[in-house]
């Protein structure tokens, strides 16, 4: 699926912006090697992209979407489950021992929480110096010299060498953390929400510092954030992540001005407007993100997508009804997953009420006051029967068959959108479908 991406990007690649990091089909799963097997958490689930030398790539998405895990995998703080990360041509997932240690000089990470990323029992000098000690850089005296220079460079004073982190404010502590990542002269730095723990007034200062340092040392950044306005300010390109997948990736301005993917639409519509009188339609996503242990079989966003492809015969159903139908599917899906619990099985065996409400209650809540067309009435009744018979499996099958579409069955491909190598993961970019924007405008405005 990334074949097309590569081609389109190769065309426009020239000497100046060559690729520094190339990630292909990267997966990072947690809790795999557990004693009793089970589903791993698929934090990063098949991600491919490139980072060009000297650029800042933004990585945005709601919390829990796997963006931090992706960043940590790129600097080998997490081990990749499969896939490759080529760093200047070397696949770093295969490195170990002295080679890994040598490579670590080139890739560093700035952490989110400056309270937790600095060891309080060491002086600032010791903290910033430690990477140099680890790599046995020149003489101890030269190391001290370099640390003091770096402190000055990040906006602190040379005399702060013998202070402790306690004696600094949050912004200053983050500067110390930045100084530490710079000691080994890395080429690539992962910034894991570097300003989200800071006061708004300090955020801008640290962002400006990071930009200045990038110019001075020719750094390449992966900027992880959930604050979209910061991303728009600092990033050359942006990748939008959802449930372990990159939904859309492309140049920042283009992506912000004309989002292609339905998820990007939803995310951008959530940016608060500084002007309280401005009217803006917010796309409210229904439900919560699916459990990353058990992602949907089709498009990762299919369960909540505001522009999901609907079967043609039901295309003219009321939008509110569609929302409720999607919700019903979610509920049945969740019941099917949770019904595996031992105690619930026992309770239902004993004829006791389990923690789930009866299907009548659910229907009441979902469809009360709605007019149910005759075409779907039999389907809903069949579903209710199946659920009563504890047969969520077949209820779900029926629902998928009737109301599902390509979104629920097939994983979409990356489609080029825009002129500048932007790609988006959505079935709606295939010929014969309306664009996400048109659908969202129709359904939600």
């Amino acid at each position: 699926m990334s074949q097309r991406t590569l081609q389109s990007e190769e065309e426009m690649m020239d000497e100046r912006d060559d690729v520094m990091v190339e990630v292909s089909d990267l997966r990072t799963y947690y809790d795999e090697g557990k004693l009793f097997g089970g589903n791993p958490v698929k934090a990063v689930d098949g991600v491919s992209f490139e980072i060009k030398r000297g650029e800042t790539l933004g990585l945005v998405g709601e919390s829990g979407c796997g963006k931090t895990t992706l960043g940590r995998t790129l600097v080998q703080l997490e081990e990749a489950t499969s896939g490759e990360i080529h760093f200047d041509g070397t696949d770093i997932t295969t490195l170990s021992g002295p080679e890994l240690k040598a490579w670590r000089r080139d890739a560093q990470i700035v952490f989110q929480d400056p309270d937790s990323s600095l060891n309080d029992r060491m002086t600032v000098g010791e903290i910033v110096r430690e990477p140099l000690d680890v790599h046995d850089w020149k003489t101890p005296r030269e190391r001290q010299q370099r640390v003091r220079e770096l402190l000055e460079k990040v906006g602190l004073q040379r005399e702060h060498y013998y202070r402790y982190p306690h004696q600094f404010s949050g912004g200053q502590r983050q500067r110390i953390g930045v100084a530490r990542t710079l000691t080994l002269e890395p080429k690539f730095i992962v910034l894991d929400e570097p300003v989200s723990a800071l006061d708004v007034s300090v955020q801008a200062e640290v962002i400006n510092l990071l930009e200045d340092l990038q110019d001075e040392f020719d750094l390449t950044y992966l900027f992880i954030a959930h604050d979209l306005s910061v991303v728009r300010h600092i990033c050359d390109r942006v990748a939008v992540m959802y449930l372990g997948n990159i939904m859309e990736i492309g140049p920042t301005e283009e992506l912000f001005a004309d989002p292609a993917n339905p998820y990007t639409h939803a995310l951008l519509s959530a940016i608060p407007e500084p002007d309280p009188t401005a009217h803006r339609d917010r796309i409210t996503l229904q439900g919560t993100p699916p459990n990353p242990r058990d992602p949907p079989s089709g498009c990762p966003f299919s369960t909540r997508c505001p522009a999901r492809i609907r079967p043609e015969e039901y295309e003219n159903l009321d939008d509110t009804l569609w929302t409720q139908l999607d919700l019903l599917r979610e509920i049945v899906r969740e019941r099917k997953r949770a019904e595996r619990g031992m105690s619930d099985r026992l309770k239902s065996l004993l004829g006791r009420e389990s923690r789930f409400g009866s299907i009548n209650e659910i229907y009441d809540e979902l469809f009360k006051g709605l007019e149910i067309p005759d075409s779907i009435q039999p389907v809903l009744e069949q579903v209710a029967d199946d659920v009563r018979a504890k047969n969520e499996e077949s209820a779900l099958e029926l629902l998928n068959e009737e109301f599902g579409s390509v979104c629920d069955t097939d994983i979409p491909a990356y489609h080029p959108v825009g002129d500048d190598g932007r790609v988006s993961l959505c079935h709606r970019h295939e010929p014969g479908h309306d664009t996400p924007r048109a659908v969202i405008d129709r359904r939600h405005r």
Binding site: E130, V134, Q167
Partner: protein, 588 residues
């Protein structure tokens, strides 16, 4: 004095900083030298005792492979003679290799800051397979070096030469140890006899033994206090004149502890207890060797009722001075029939109770320190490893520790000490069973300690600075030592000081039951046991005084632990449930 930024960049080592401003350091060193000189004999004596213990341990290690080989050979001898020899040889070499490698890890982390393998020109990548890392190679090289050294000492005449060198050094030190010391019993002596004209002979300045003894006690405690103050002064001198940082987190701890009066009370009690243990031979009103251990080999002079100065063996005199209730009691602050001063009276055998208590403090402190030392080292090591690596090793440690915890500590101690003592195991003879007890405490208390510090250590392992260390390639070993251990250490220090009280109580309880420390080594619990039938008589002091002391010392250690905890972690509440459980020795 203004400094430009270039000048502040000049980095000075501590030595250079002292050279730049030597006065405060010189004053402090001069004071320290004076203090050492005053008690030179005793301090050298302590060094000798510590050296002897180290020698014993080092001497025991090489015998381990032979011991294993013998056991294996014995076990297999029933099967076939040839097999037993082969088995013995295998057992020997495997154990020897393990001991050498363990030794190498210890030696490397303690004494070798540089890379030996690089110095002798070995490179892991050139000579070996991928699995051979730099660190492993380094350890193997050191292990080989240790092996060669051990073989040289054990097999060749080099061993004899080393022995001779050690012996001559020991002799020289012993000569010093027998020389001048301020707390010499003979210098301020309370052992003399009444002269016929009403005064005292042989005592310090002819004063009465009670006053002479009091002076000696005061001098010793004053000296110990002065030494403590001087150490504190050393710290403040460093802080004021030589430390680069003008503030460290440690300063806050100290400031908080200084206003924590319950903690200071604990510190005072613990200080008194430790001094009592360290200076036991000098503090005792009677000479321990003569009065406690071999009373019939030593005699002293006294003035008889008809005005004659006569000699009598301590043992004979002790029989006349027994405290067994009724009229035959030598109570607190009194002289016995032979005009010997007994500050806390005598025990049912007529021996001096204060001397007995002072030496008993030694026993308790020894057992407590060794036992808790072992337990804390294991707990600290395991907590670092389990919280850093998690996973299988964590689960395995949980299983092991839960297994050990599931048996009540006191029951287990009883069981093990009976087994070892009935089996006449050589370990049970060292220090009248004290070492055995300490080892048992070490083995039984580490799981509880590990559990107690598991939360904090998991918390520290989750800190981003641990990740940061990994991100620039710091080794797990140094990460644990530098970025995790300091945080865990403060918790373990608190629990250790609480647990030390528990160990003292358990030891006393065991001895009370007649199982812990065997006579003649003094132990407080045994004294309570000996005196318990006289509690309602005029000889009430025998059980009461040691009992009160046990309570006081245990309370002191707990108070000190509370103080340390509140100083390091001011947010925690004083009534911590885990800490209370630890204080009672986990049900002991």
């Amino acid at each position: 004095m203004s400094m430009s930024s270039d000048e502040t960049d000049v980095v000075l080592t501590l030595r250079e900083r002292i050279a730049a401003n030597p006065r405060p350091a010189l004053i402090w060193v001069a004071g320290l030298a004076l203090l050492i000189l005053l008690e030179l004999g005793r301090i050298v004596g302590w060094i000798l005792a510590a050296g002897g213990a180290v020698r014993m341990v080092i001497g025991a290690i090489p015998s381990v492979p032979w011991w294993v080989a013998d056991n294996v050979a014995d076990g297999l001898s029933g099967v076939s003679g040839g097999l037993s020899q082969v088995g013995g040889a295998i057992g020997f070499s495997v154990t020897a290799a393990l001991v050498l490698i363990a030794g190498a890890f210890l030696v490397k982390s303690l004494f070798v800051p540089f890379s030996v393998s690089k110095k002798i020109g070995l490179d892991a990548r050139q000579i070996g397979p991928d699995a051979l890392s730099e660190h492993l190679l380094e350890r193997l090289v050191i292990a080989a070096g240790l092996g060669v050294g051990a073989a040289l000492i054990l097999v060749t005449p080099v061993g004899g030469a080393v022995d001779a060198a050690v012996a001559s050094l020991t002799n020289a030190l012993e000569w010093v140890a027998n020389g001048w010391t301020l707390s010499d019993r003979e210098l301020i002596s309370n052992e003399g006899h009444r002269s016929p004209d009403g005064g005292w002979e042989g005592t310090f300045l002819g004063l009465s033994p009670a006053i002479a003894w009091s002076i000696r006690v005061i001098v010793i405690y004053a000296y110990a206090f002065a030494a403590l103050v001087w150490l504190w002064k050393g710290y403040t001198t460093y802080r004021e004149h030589y430390r680069e940082a003008d503030w460290t987190p440690r300063d806050d701890w100290i400031n908080r502890f200084r206003t924590h009066y319950w903690g200071i009370f604990g510190l005072i009690v613990v200080f008194g207890f430790v001094v009592l243990a360290l200076w036991a031979p000098a503090l005792g009103a009677a000479n321990a060797e003569a009065n406690l251990y071999s009373p019939y080999q030593n005699e002293f002079e006294y003035l008889t009722d008809d005005g004659q100065v006569e000699s009598v063996a301590h043992g004979t005199a002790n029989i006349q001075s027994r405290s067994q209730g009724g009229d035959s009691t030598v109570g607190i602050m009194s002289y016995d029939e032979y005009d010997r001063w007994a500050p806390l009276g005598t025990n049912p055998d007529g021996k001096d109770l204060f001397t007995f208590l002072a030496f008993g403090a030694r026993t308790s402190l020894m057992i407590g320190l060794i036992g808790i030392g072992i337990a804390t080292s294991i707990a600290l090591m395991m907590s670092l490893i389990t919280s850093y690596y998690k996973g299988t090793i964590d689960i395995a440690t949980i299983v092991v520790s839960d297994t050990i915890i599931s048996v009540p500590v006191f029951l287990m101690v009883l069981l093990l000490s009976v087994v070892f003592q009935q089996g006449n195991h050589p370990l049970a003879d060292i220090y009248s069973g004290g070492l055995l007890l300490a080892l048992i405490f070490g083995a039984l208390y580490w799981p509880g300690l590990w559990r107690a510090i598991r939360g904090p250590s998991l918390q520290v392992a989750e800190q981003e600075w641990v990740d940061a260390a990994k991100s620039y390639g710091q080794t797990p070993m140094i990460t644990m030592r530098k970025h995790m251990a300091p945080y865990i250490l403060s918790y373990i220090l608190i629990y250790a000081s609480l647990l030390l009280g528990g160990v003292i109580i358990t030891t006393a309880a065991l001895s009370f039951l007649g199982l812990g420390i065997n006579p003649p080594t003094p132990e407080w619990g045994r004294m309570v046991s000996d005196g318990r039938s006289y509690v309602s008589t005029s000889s009430w002091h025998i059980a009461t005084v040691p009992g009160i002391l046990i309570v006081l010392v245990v309370t002191g250690f707990n108070a000190l632990g509370d103080g340390i905890r509140d100083a390091m972690d001011p947010e925690s509440e004083s009534g911590d449930a885990g800490a209370t459980a630890a204080a009672t020795g986990g049900g002991g």
